[in-house]
């Protein structure tokens, strides 16, 4: 993947997968010796192919797996992710989140605000302009889920602000 950080670069949408599921997928691949065919995972786990592919996409976006052809292969960082303790897991996840364009855009947008925060509606409008073909609410939901996990973003429903998590 091209890691050019110019702002014209196409932003990838986030697959609607949870972090717990993604970690579970890494465990399963590890059980198979670190490498398996994606279609045999779907039948083994008895889950819908669509849902498995979404999780695979998320794991790949984090750099936890590679997907040459029909194979899914655990990367060294993917292996580390399942073997390490919780706080290192979160640290690793945070490092990966920082490489994802949508997170970089949101960080930039938040930093440009006077109080470094945005309301949900304002952020939804931005997401819609960056990803016109996606449902902004779904992207927002995944953004907040992953962002909270990696302690990158915070969101309070009570005062309706998204902010950068400063630890």
């Amino acid at each position: 993947m091209d890691h050019d950080s110019s702002s014209n670069k196409e932003i990838q949408s986030l697959p609607a997968a949870g972090i717990s599921e993604t970690l579970g997928l890494l465990e399963v691949i590890d059980d198979h010796g670190g490498e398996e065919k994606s279609y045999s995972l779907a039948s083994e786990l008895n889950i819908e192919t669509d849902s498995l592919l979404t999780t695979i996409k998320a794991a790949e976006m984090f750099g936890f797996i590679d997907t040459p052809g029909r194979d899914v292969i655990l990367t060294p960082i993917g292996k580390q992710m399942i073997e390490t303790e919780m706080n290192t897991k979160k640290q690793l996840l945070l490092e990966q989140l920082r490489k994802i364009e949508l997170f970089a855009k949101v960080k930039e947008a938040l930093e440009s605000q006077e109080e470094e925060r945005l309301s949900r509606d304002d952020l939804l409008k931005m997401i819609q302009s960056w990803l016109p073909n996606e449902k902004a609410e779904d992207q927002f939901e995944t953004l907040i889920n992953w962002g909270r996990w990696g302690e990158f973003l915070g969101y309070s429903q009570d005062d309706d602000y998204v902010y950068l998590d400063q630890g």
Partner: protein, 253 residues
């Protein structure tokens, strides 16, 4: 026979309920011992009295006959050294993650500051950092169950009781959380020593437990106890693993 100290015992326990159709016997003549540092799974078909047994163990329900004792002393009411994790999480939707976890501590005579400190510690242990202000509706099933775990752990009990804790989760999330619960149970810094888990999934029991208690119904009774002496982490693909799954499966059917 067992190198560890006995922590809890169930002696000649029976339980019946009055129904319109007459007296329903849920459990009959249950005798079980639980030890420190063991993970026990209870499996059996629905209606075999597993959940009733778990409620008797933690003292929410009184047995009709027999008794339970904790470290040699007969139990009269709720056992404060037990905490419970539920299949459907048992969270209050109008409270945040942090508030849900603190709520469990209210009954434990702690100052607000102490409760907050404990809640924060267990939020960290189960990977919920960053989610403190979220409401249950914002969370996936896996994250909701992490709240359930943190709330149970925050009480710092010696015994963790879990009633089908993974069965409302999708398969991948369940795999992840099983691993994490085993890590938590093995963590020497936590007070938890014994885990008793109800499940209807035999593979889950064999993956996690040192000992599997197989029950059957009408009325609920123990069929057999099967020890699982496999080292952890266990390979779900191994022959030995299959052997134990097969043995328990035959006992149930």
């Amino acid at each position: 026979m067992n190198e560890f100290e006995k922590i809890l015992s169930v002696e000649n326990v029976g339980r019946s309920f009055k129904t319109k159709a007459g007296n329903f016997i849920a459990l009959e003549n249950i005798n079980l011992d639980f030890f420190e540092e063991e993970f026990v799974a209870i499996v059996g078909p629905s209606g075999c009295g597993k959940s009733t047994l778990l409620k008797i163990i933690n003292g929410m329900l009184k047995p009709s006959t027999g008794k339970t004792s904790f470290r040699g002393k007969a139990l009269g009411g709720i056992n404060l050294e037990c905490s419970m994790v539920y299949q459907n999480f048992g969270l209050l939707p109008w409270l945040s993650v942090l508030e849900n976890i603190e709520l469990g501590l209210l009954s434990r005579e702690l100052s607000n500051a102490q409760a907050q400190k404990k809640a924060a510690h267990y939020i960290d242990k189960v990977g919920l950092d960053g989610h403190e202000e979220a409401y249950p509706r914002e969370l996936s099933g896996g994250m909701k169950q992490r709240v359930g775990f943190a709330r149970a752990l925050a009480i710092e009990p010696e015994i963790l009781l879990m009633d089908e804790p993974f069965s409302s989760l999708d398969p991948l999330t369940a795999i992840n959380l099983r691993e994490e619960i085993l890590d938590i149970w093995e963590d020497p810094n936590l007070r938890i020593t014994t885990v008793i888990m109800i499940t209807h999934q035999i593979e889950e029991a064999v993956e996690m437990a040192d000992r599997v208690i197989v029950m059957d119904g009408s009325p609920g009774h123990v069929v057999k106890e099967v020890k699982i002496p496999l080292e952890r982490p266990r390979n779900r693909k191994s022959k030995e693993f299959d052997h134990y799954v097969g043995e328990i499966f035959e006992l149930i059917t």
